[in-house]
């Protein structure tokens, strides 16, 4: 049993000391980051506090309908947010929405079916939130990369189409490259975990007083869950989205200009 770690509001405020140092360094170096750091600090405080109270209510209710509603809302906002980063991909919202929904639901169903976690709010909400958040980043990065690659490789795609290749055949090398560039950082960080850095869940559990082996086991479960769900999200997003670059007649559409 883990002893709960209680932090007072004063202790949270004290942790801002390091943020203040970063702001001072930014001003000193004229890096023009002070405002962004301030916005990020305030937003994270408000958002996490709000979600903390919301989760408290959902934990107390322990009703799966509330859990599903919360995770569905996260999927929706995740798809909206990721779309902003994949502006060069036409109609990226639906592929992103489906990718996040599929990654989140498949992961949770699997961990519950395998008996890793019980189907209770206190497990499904944090694991689901983590999966959806990471899947969002992975899908957005994969689509962003794909958009840039299609713009850079338009001549090669059209030259391949001109030989009678389908859209799928012409874009396949780019899909492969996009997925690889998306997955390699996560695979590398999974390889080095425990050697170069301690992942967040394990740190949280150790701070909360859990036994190290329990912390490691939970961290391993979450690492494997993340690896699978992130791959699933990126794979789904690029395979659904690439079609939007082409017309029915396997013609490459005019691409949107990148935004500054």
């Amino acid at each position: 049993m883990i002893a709960a770690l209680h932090l007072s509001p004063g202790q949270v405020v004290a942790s801002l000391a390091l943020v203040a140092v970063a702001v001072l360094v930014s001003i000193w170096q004229r890096a023009d980051l002070a405002r962004d750091i301030a916005v990020a600090t305030v937003r994270s405080f408000i958002q996490l506090t709000a979600i903390g109270y919301l989760i408290k209510v959902i934990f107390e209710q322990n009703n799966l309908v509330f859990v599903i509603a919360l995770l569905a809302t996260m999927v929706l906002f995740g798809a909206f947010t990721a779309r902003q980063r994949a502006r060069r991909v036409p109609h990226a919202f639906w592929p992103l929405l489906l990718a996040l929904a599929l990654a989140g639901s498949t992961t949770l169903l699997l961990v519950v079916a395998l008996g890793v976690f019980k189907p209770q709010a206190r497990y499904l909400v944090p694991v689901g939130g983590m999966v959806i958040g990471n899947a969002m980043t992975a899908a957005a990065v994969a689509l962003n990369r794909l958009g840039d690659d299609v713009a850079d490789g338009a001549a090669q795609i059209e030259a391949t189409l001109a030989l009678g290749a389908t859209a799928s055949e012409a874009i396949r090398p780019l899909l492969r490259r996009s997925l690889r560039s998306d997955m390699i950082p996560l695979i590398d960080s999974t390889k080095t975990t425990g050697l170069i850095f301690f992942p967040g869940t394990m740190v949280g559990m150790l701070l909360a007083g859990a036994a190290p082996i329990d912390a490691v086991r939970l961290q391993l479960v979450l690492l494997y869950v993340l690896l699978g769900s992130v791959a699933l999200a990126a794979l789904t997003a690029v395979h659904l989205a690439y079609r939007n670059f082409f017309t029915e007649a396997h013609q490459l559409r005019e691409l949107a200009q990148p935004h500054a």
Partner: protein, 216 residues
């Protein structure tokens, strides 16, 4: 008639490139000449269908190109773009790419020979060739499909004089040996006269004057 364009208007990025263009292209070797931005490359694109006109129709032997299976059309009417855009891999992999897509055997050596390349090129890495050699591999890749029509967009634009003369000789040789029709886009009027049985002048998205037949 090989191709008939009727009242074709095409624009891209808010700019009208072809404006109510009507023109007929016959079998044989046709050179399409005009300044940069005249719409020559766009016209070729409408024949191989990486693009369709906004208004008007393009017919291939009396039938709207949109009525053909687009993939089959592109294997019959093959476009060789202006800039080499080869796939990573060997010359052989590039040349056999088109036939492999449609499950046909590839006559690799024949395609290389027709494009003026030695069979030894087959195993060389495509990305490490000179621009002139890459241009010839692009031509070999198109010829491997044994097309009825070959569309060549500025096939010598990136080449020096010597390589240009060699490619021109290859094209004239191709025309004699193959039954395929050749439509060559060039900004060089002298080259158009050297290569084309007929020369069409395109400027400002319209045909200027009448097609000129070059005396034999």
């Amino acid at each position: 008639m090989l191709f008939s364009l009727r009242d074709v208007t095409y624009g891209r990025g808010g700019r009208v490139i072809l404006s109510a263009l009507s023109v007929e292209l016959r079998e044989g070797m046709t050179a399409l000449v005009g300044p940069s931005g005249a719409g020559k490359s766009t016209l070729l694109r409408l024949l191989n269908r990486p693009a369709d006109p906004d208004i008007g129709t393009v017919e291939d032997r009396g039938r709207d190109v949109r009525d053909y299976d687009v993939l089959e059309l592109r294997r019959e009417v093959v476009l060789v773009p202006q800039l080499p855009a080869l796939l990573p891999g060997s010359v052989a992999q590039n040349v056999s790419y088109g036939p492999r897509l449609c499950g046909r055997p590839c006559k690799l050596e024949k395609a290389l020979r027709l494009a003026g390349l030695d069979g030894k090129f087959a195993e060389r890495a495509a990305q490490q060739l000179s621009v002139g050699e890459q241009q010839r591999v692009m031509l070999a890749r198109a010829l491997a499909l044994e097309p009825n029509v070959l569309l060549l967009d500025e096939p010598t634009a990136a080449l020096d004089e010597r390589s240009r003369d060699a490619v021109e000789r290859t094209l004239l040789d191709l025309h004699e040996r193959l039954s395929a029709a050749l439509i060559i886009v060039t900004h060089d009027q002298a080259q158009a006269r050297r290569l084309g049985e007929r020369v069409l002048v395109l400027d400002g998205g319209r045909i200027q004057g009448h097609p000129r037949a070059i005396p034999a």
